[in-house]
């Protein structure tokens, strides 16, 4: 079809504009469309954004009139929301889309000859993983777009060391010529601007070739292990030392071999463990604990990863078979006892770190099966001495239980998606935690200089990652302060001291106007909210209320759609019956619906099927 006209609707412009400053990304997705038909038509807007992003705005402009978004406390917004939902008049949704993304969908009825502009803004802090920051965009326009552009500007005060951009759908030189990437000093730029002809899947086709992942990766110069940046009284401290040797690990793999793991899952687990064994370093100690209804161990105690032991371990792994039910409690307690004993009896190096990596695909149903009790037992046994990482394989499990248990034991949980690459996901997770360079890391500032500090102590600093601490200066006129980062290395204890000249640091960021002014304050708010929400997962009663209140206040103040807030876009003359909604699902939403009946009432699942396009728009963007 000429100029990408589909059913009378022309999407004539789609632009993704990203500005990244000091790892903080501010993204604006703008789509412009016009209804060329002789009758009112429904126009859809789809955008996929990272789960780690917070929507900060969504506006709709019809024939030049803009309807801005308003952030409201979720409960307040919900009243409007429920009323509209009850009448089946929802139109906007955000739902989980794959592993990394959430899909925002909205549609509006547009009169004949009218134009509409959708603008979605979201922000996220890019986290460093395996030596790179990654910005991930999903591209899938429904039709050819006359002006299609992705424009990414990066500004990093430390200087950019590498920058790359890749698109899974770039398969030929023609489309490759639409992509340009460049960096110099502190600035980087990526532009992807395919013409209409370049977008066609074949010279005479009307469907688009653009369908897939668009990924920008970069890293910064690290002449110094730490960098402190200050703007308008807020500071952020990035810490990622290089050149340190890896701290030896004592790792116990606790593997679910219950009946539900049968078939591809157990095969993928075996494959992943065999690959992981190839990466285990000779100074590491390891053991395997398998659990079904019973708990069995490979060795009675941890053994060093000598070539002979690794060979024996591989033979053991190949012999793993599925059987029986699921006894998580006893398996974990056995692993904890094993690590404690190894340390008490000095069987493992004094300067080493102990971790448990548990993989399960289901809920406990043998032995102690009450999640709360298992958590209590594990917490009391570990006593904060080492980290527990929980990997939830597939969907048929209580992920929030695994996550809570990991978080309260200095670890983290990760979902392993049941897919052809599950073995690579497992291996990838191991790689992330395989190379601790420092343990018990604490970032310290003078009490009288800093306030509202984000998390400043970490069990591990992993090679290729980065510790980020943000806060507020007590006195904006102070001249300097000192930041100490203390940690235990493989061979020695290290204290990195950073003298921060406040005026110099502010001056160095004069160029920040290049991107946007208050990004460090927003970065601080983003990080604070993210950490409050995480803490909230394990908090009880009053503490939980306090954490919720703090996170809510910040979400409202900084206009973030978080799990506590909703964004409503209202056309002033409309009544409340005419509205559309979007929802931000959390990890919980990916669990088993049958075990979480409340979820079946969430708008993202209940009302999408009953969607009726409203005559006039009323929009609502929500976080789970």
């Amino acid at each position: 079809l000429p100029e990408g006209l589909v059913d009378g609707i022309e999407v004539y412009s789609t632009k993704i504009n990203s500005k990244v400053t000091s790892r903080f990304a501010h993204n604006v997705i703008t789509t412009r469309a016009v209804n060329h038909a002789e009758e009112a038509k429904e126009i859809f807007f789809d955008a996929e954004l990272p789960k780690t992003g917070f929507i900060t705005n969504f506006t709709l402009t019809i024939d030049g009139v803009t309807y801005p978004g308003n952030i409201k406390e979720k409960e307040v917004a919900k009243k409007q929301y429920e009323k509209a939902v009850s009448q089946g008049k929802t139109a906007g949704l955000v739902k989980a889309s794959g592993r990394k993304l959430e899909k925002f969908t909205v549609s509006v009825n547009v009169a004949a000859g009218s134009k509409v502009t959708f603008e979605l803004t979201y922000e996220e802090l890019l986290k460093r993983n395996k030596g790179k920051y990654e910005m991930y965009l999903k591209i899938q326009p429904k039709q050819l777009v006359k002006h299609f552009e992705i424009d990414v500007h990066i500004f990093e005060p430390q200087g950019i060391s590498t920058l790359d951009a890749e698109a899974s759908f770039i398969t030929n030189d023609l489309l490759g010529s639409a992509l340009t990437k460049s960096f110099s000093g502190q600035k980087g730029h990526v532009s992807f601007k395919p013409s209409l002809d370049q977008q066609r899947s074949c010279p005479t086709c009307t469907d688009s070739l653009l369908n897939g992942d668009f990924t920008v990766t970069y890293d910064v110069n690290r002449e110094s292990p730490g960098d402190v940046q200050i703007v308008n009284g807020y500071f952020v401290h990035f810490f990622a030392p290089q050149g340190l040797p890896v701290v030896p690990k004592n790792v116990v793999f606790v593997i679910d071999v219950s009946g539900s793991m049968s078939g591809r899952k157990i095969q993928q687990t075996r494959d992943a463990l065999l690959k992981i064994l190839e990466d285990v370093k000779k100074d590491d100690y390891l053991n395997f604990i398998l659990f079904s209804g019973y708990v069995t161990t490979w060795k009675d105690q941890l053994v060093q990863a000598t070539p002979e032991n690794l060979q024996e371990a591989k033979t053991f792994v190949k012999s793993i078979r599925d059987q029986g039910s699921t006894n998580i409690n006893d398996a974990l307690l056995r692993a904890i006892h094993m690590l404690n004993k190894a340390q008490e009896e000095h069987r493992v190096p004094e300067r080493s770190t102990s971790i448990i990596i548990m993989l399960t695909d289901g809920d406990a149903n043998t032995g102690e099966s009450r999640p709360e009790k298992i958590r209590e037992n594990v917490r009391n046994a570990i006593e904060g001495k080492f980290s527990l990482y929980n990997l939830g394989f597939g969907r048929n499990l209580d992920y929030s239980f695994l996550e809570s248990m990991a978080l309260e034991n200095q670890g983290l949980a990760r979902r392993i998606y049941e897919d052809s690459d599950a073995d690579l996901q497992l291996q990838g997770f191991y790689e992330e935690v395989a190379n601790p360079l420092l343990t018990s890391v604490k970032v310290e500032y003078p009490d009288n200089a800093i306030q509202d500090l984000t998390q400043n102590s970490y069990q591990h600093f992993y090679d290729g990652s980065e510790i980020v601490v943000a806060g507020r200066l007590v006195d904006e006129d102070m001249n300097n302060f000192k930041a100490d980062v203390k940690g235990h290395g493989a061979l020695s204890d290290l204290v990195y001291t950073k003298e921060v000249d406040v005026k110099e640091a502010e001056k160095a960021l004069k160029e920040q106007d290049y991107i946007f002014g208050n990004f460090i304050e927003r970065l601080w708010a983003y990080l604070t909210i993210e950490q409050l929400l995480e803490k909230r997962k394990n908090a009880q009663s009053e503490e939980k209320e306090n954490l919720t209140a703090q996170a809510l206040d910040l979400s409202l103040k900084y206009h973030f759609v978080t799990p506590l807030t909703s964004m409503v876009v209202t056309k002033p003359e409309d009544n409340e019956n005419q509205m559309a909604f979007a929802d931000k699902p959390g990890e919980d939403a990916e669990g088993k619906p049958s075990q979480h009946p409340a979820r079946s009432a969430t708008p993202s699942t209940a009302y999408q099927v009953r969607y009726q396009p409203p005559q006039n728009p009323y929009y609502y963007v929500d976080g789970d």
Binding site: P225, P245, L491, S492, D493, L494, V495, T497
Partner: protein, 236 residues
């Protein structure tokens, strides 16, 4: 590089230069009892002069080894690498960092100096002299050596033991501002010149003037043997 030997008993100092080709490694300290050794590698200055009389040389790399602890440090003007056994830890002069482990402490003070202590009783300071890119050089100071053995040797190490010298017959030299004199040291009679060198420990840019008696000809007569006896093959 120039050497300053302070002699507290005399409240005076002796200086000498060692002129060798860039790349040469000199033994500065060698203690067979504690296992500590310090070697320095020479670099030339920015001017590419083939005339050894005008060419200035400095230390561009230092290697510090503690054989008993199986510990080594290589300090260059770019970076600092610590080895514990075969495992390296790399740090930068842009860091301010303290590394501590049993019996050892290494502190790098961003762009200025680093302090290396082996327990109580042995402390060295390395100063980074920032000249211009790719032509920085290093200074090495011994601030405490009292735990080192009497068998310590090397261009600096030989002076850790008490020694005596006498200066007499101070008379005008070729430079009217720098009188010559006769020095008797280690059973040698030498002609020395009053001059000054700088101690950069406290102020790495300006330094502190130290008056000393300068011994000519690569410290000949002052040092045990001749300076080429101190040339070693490896930094570490």
């Amino acid at each position: 590089p120039h050497f300053i030997i302070q002699v507290p008993e005399k409240d005076d100092a002796i200086c000498f230069n060692i002129d060798e080709d860039p790349g040469t490694v000199l033994s500065l300290i060698q203690d067979p009892v504690t296992g500590l050794s310090v070697n320095g590698q020479i670099i030339g200055d920015k001017r590419d002069s083939s005339n050894s009389n005008t060419r200035k040389t400095y230390f561009g790399k230092l290697g510090i080894t503690n054989a008993q602890m199986d510990f080594r440090i290589e300090v260059t003007t770019e970076k600092i690498t610590l080895w514990n056994g075969v495992v390296p830890t790399t740090l930068s002069w842009l860091d301010t960092v303290t590394v501590t482990q049993d019996g050892l402490s290494v502190t790098i003070n961003r762009k200025k100096n680093m302090v290396i202590s082996f327990g109580r009783g042995v402390t060295f300071v390395v100063v980074l002299h920032r000249v211009w890119k790719k032509h920085d050089f290093l200074g090495f100071y011994v601030v405490d050596s009292h735990r080192m053995s009497a068998q310590t040797h090397g261009l600096l190490g030989q002076f850790f033991h008490p020694f005596d010298f006498e200066v007499s017959d101070v008379h005008p030299g070729s430079d009217p501002t720098k009188p010559d004199a006769i020095m008797v040291v280690k059973n040698h009679q030498l002609t020395v010149t009053r001059g000054s060198q700088k101690d950069y420990r406290k102020d790495t840019s300006v330094g502190m003037k130290v008056n000393c008696w300068f011994v000519h000809n690569n410290g000949e007569g002052l040092i045990d043997g001749v300076h080429t006896d101190y040339i070693v093959s490896n930094l570490l």
